[in-house]
Structure formats: C-alpha cells, structure tokens
C-alpha cells in the first residue's frame, strides 16, 4: 500500500471528505491546545515576547518534512504524485505581506480565527466575518485581478530544483535552520519578556 491513498484510488471523494473533516478537527484541536485561539498570544509573536507560534509552526514543518522524506525513501509514499502548487512570485509576495498586515491588525490568521470562534471568542468571530467578506470581495473582483494573480508563474517549482542542490541537503538545511531558530527564539523571548 503506497500513499497518497486518494490518488491511488484507495478511497473516493466521499471518504476523502470525511477524512478531511477528521484531519481538520485534529488540526483545530492542536492549534487550540497550542494556545492559538488567543489573539494576544498570536500577536505577541510580532512584539517578540512570546514566539510560541513560530516554534509550533516550525516544529510542524520539520516533522512533516522529515516524515514525508523518510516515508518516500523507504517507498511508502510516491512523492511524484504529491501535488505541488505553482509558485506565482509577485502575487504571493503581495499576498504574504497582506496576510501579515491583517495578522498584526486583527490578531488572527485565517485558521486561528476559526479556532478562536470555536472557543467562543467574539474577536475571532468578527475576524471570521471579515475573512468571509474578503473572500467574497476577491471572488467578485477576480476578473479585474486575474491577470496579476496568474502573473510571474514559475510553475510547480521546489527548493531543490530552484537551488540545484539535492533534496536531502534542503531537508538538512531546513532542520538546522529550525533548531537554530528555536535556540534563538528562547534568547529573544527572555530578553523581550523581561521588559
């Protein structure tokens, strides 16, 4: 049995929706347990007093990175079937800046606003309404934005391809970056929290 299971037709659309629901609940649960339902905790990131978000996210990234790498290596995952979205350089940079701006102002990012709402936080609920309004506005304005949204298309490019280095080297570099980041985050937190 080789993953990705859906691509190999191990289960159909309906079963995949049920699994997505279960995975989503798990995702939300762990976000909440990490404290991501609180806008205070999330925005503390940007004032460098509490870097939990950074640490949790980076931990998740290297866990998934190592997991997928090793599962592929031993042949349990067929990496060539894993979907790689296209990189649209300019729109994604702008989108990242917009998301960061909204994150600082609103105190949530899209997923955590749902977590906040689920735990009964009013600010999370308002953020969620804004999120929906934004999606609607984007959809309505899409014909105007379409040219920009599809511009600077680099295709489904990955870091090893872009940097011309081996896949394993990128894995090591990201893990090393994370570990150095965790160590640095501890120092930064101690310094800024003291103020």
């Amino acid at each position: 049995m080789i993953a990705p299971f859906f691509k190999y037709g191990l289960f159909g659309d309906e079963a995949s929706l049920i699994l997505a629901f279960l995975v989503g609940i798990g995702f939300g649960f762990f976000l909440e347990r990490a404290g991501f339902g609180s806008a205070r905790k999330l925005t503390a990131q940007f004032y460098l007093t509490d870097l939990t978000v950074f640490k949790v996210m980076f931990t998740a990234i290297i866990t998934a990175l190592l997991g997928i790498f090793y599962l592929s290596w031993i042949g349990w995952v067929d990496l060539s079937l894993v979907y790689v979205p296209n990189t649209y350089l300019a729109p994604q940079i702008l989108g990242g800046l917009l998301l960061g701006f909204g994150f600082i102002v609103g105190g949530y990012c899209p997923g955590t606003s749902v977590v906040g709402t689920a735990t009964g936080r009013f600010d999370g609920f308002i953020f969620l309404l804004g999120l929906m309004a934004g999606i609607f506005a984007f959809g309505e304005a899409y014909p105007l934005l379409e040219g920009f949204v599809n511009s600077t298309d680099l295709g489904p490019i990955t870091l090893p391809e872009a940097l011309h280095v081996s896949y394993g080297l990128v894995v090591f570099a990201v893990v090393a970056l994370a570990v150095v980041g965790f160590w640095g985050a501890g120092i930064v937190e101690r310094r800024f929290a003291a103020r």
Partner: protein
C-alpha cells in the same frame, strides 16, 4: 551523557534525521509495479473510462483539471479533434511530458488504441488514466450528431433536447430517427469549429491543498 530536556532531545533527533537525509533519495519510492488484479477490478468496475457526453460536459463547463490526449494519426487530428485535445502518437507517449498527478483522458478512433495506451500509462505508474468510452466514434455519435430517440417519452425527449444543445455547442446537429445508417456520409464540422469553443488555457491546474 549530558542532561537534556525533552525538547532538546527532540531537536537532537531532528538534526540527526536531517543529517542522514543528505544521503537519502526520496524519489526511490517512485517505482512501478503492475497489480493485475487491481487493473482487472478497475476495468470491471468501469472506473477506467468517461463517456463522450461526460467529456462534453467537462469541456462546456470549462474544466481544466485533466489532459485530453488524442492518439490518432496527425492527419485525422488536423481534420478534426475534440476541443482541447493534444495530439500524441502511442510511440511518443513514454517521452511525452505528462505528470503522474494529472488526470489523463485518452481517445482514439474506436477505442482499442486508447485502451492499449491506457495500459501503457498504467504500467508506467500513472494512476489517473481514463479512456473515452467508444472513442472518437462515440464523440461523433453521441455528442456531435446525437440520434433522436425512438420512443417519445417526456424523459427521453428532455434528454434529447439537452443533447441537441450540447451538439449545437460543438457545432454539430442531431440526426433524425430515420438517419441511423448514414453516419459515414455526415460531414464533420470543419476544423475552425475548435476556435469558437472557449476552452480555458491549460495553465490553470486544479487547485489543491490549503
């Protein structure tokens, strides 16, 4: 042994795994093997094909999450092809730039060549391969020139009306109940039929993930 906290131990393990990864080859998992029973089940379960009217619906809805491959001779392709199709000969298939995470729909004149190409791609480890049931002939019979139903129940008439609209979209027209045998003499719409049909460019792949 230094005294390390749980977090520090995890960091050490991650670093070791990361270091070992430098010599790893993740695409080793990309190998193919044929499971005869699985293939038989796909065929028996009729999960290996789409019908011509289904394909027509996809095209009319502007779906772009599939690649349509015409494996007939290039002269036949030049005369007429299903909108959006790419012409690839069977001998070119192994080298043709198809991606294994794409949905690939094959058609040939009758369907036998497409079925052989289907098997070829399956053997190369492409999971999402389909053929157009009945091939190009079915496209002509069922989409471009649908036959009027023999019985005139409201259901069959409604279905025929729909087929008529689809045929008109692709530049064809329905044939009358008495015209069954004259298929060979029906003129195919000329090639410029493909231009008024708006098929969204292939650039946009299906969006997946978050």
């Amino acid at each position: 042994m230094p005294k390390l906290s749980t977090n520090q131990w995890l960091a050490v393990v991650a670093l070791l795994l990361g270091a070992l990864a430098v010599v790893g080859e993740p695409y080793a998992g990309t190998r193919t093997s044929l499971d005869a029973r699985e293939l038989a089940m796909i065929v028996e379960g009729r999960a290996d094909h789409v019908t011509a009217p289904e394909l027509a619906d996809w095209i009319m809805q502007g779906q772009t999450d599939y690649r349509l491959i015409d494996i007939r001779e290039d002269t036949a392709y030049a005369r007429y092809h299903i909108p959006g199709a790419e012409n690839v000969q069977i001998r070119e298939l192994p080298e043709y730039p198809l991606f294994r995470n794409e949905r690939i729909v094959l058609y040939s004149g009758g369907g036998i060549h497409a079925a052989q190409a289907w098997f070829l791609l399956k053997a190369m480890g492409f999971p999402g391969v389909y053929t157009v049931l009945g091939g190009f002939d079915a496209w002509i019979d069922e989409v471009l020139y649908p036959a009027a139903p023999s019985a005139t129940t409201p259901e069959s008439m409604a279905e025929f009306e729909r087929a008529e609209a689809v045929a008109a979209f692709f530049g064809g027209s329905p044939r009358g109940a008495g015209e069954e045998g004259e298929l060979q003499e029906l003129a195919l719409p000329s090639v410029d039929l493909t231009s008024p049909v708006i098929v969204a460019p292939r650039k946009k792949r299906r969006k997946e993930g978050c």
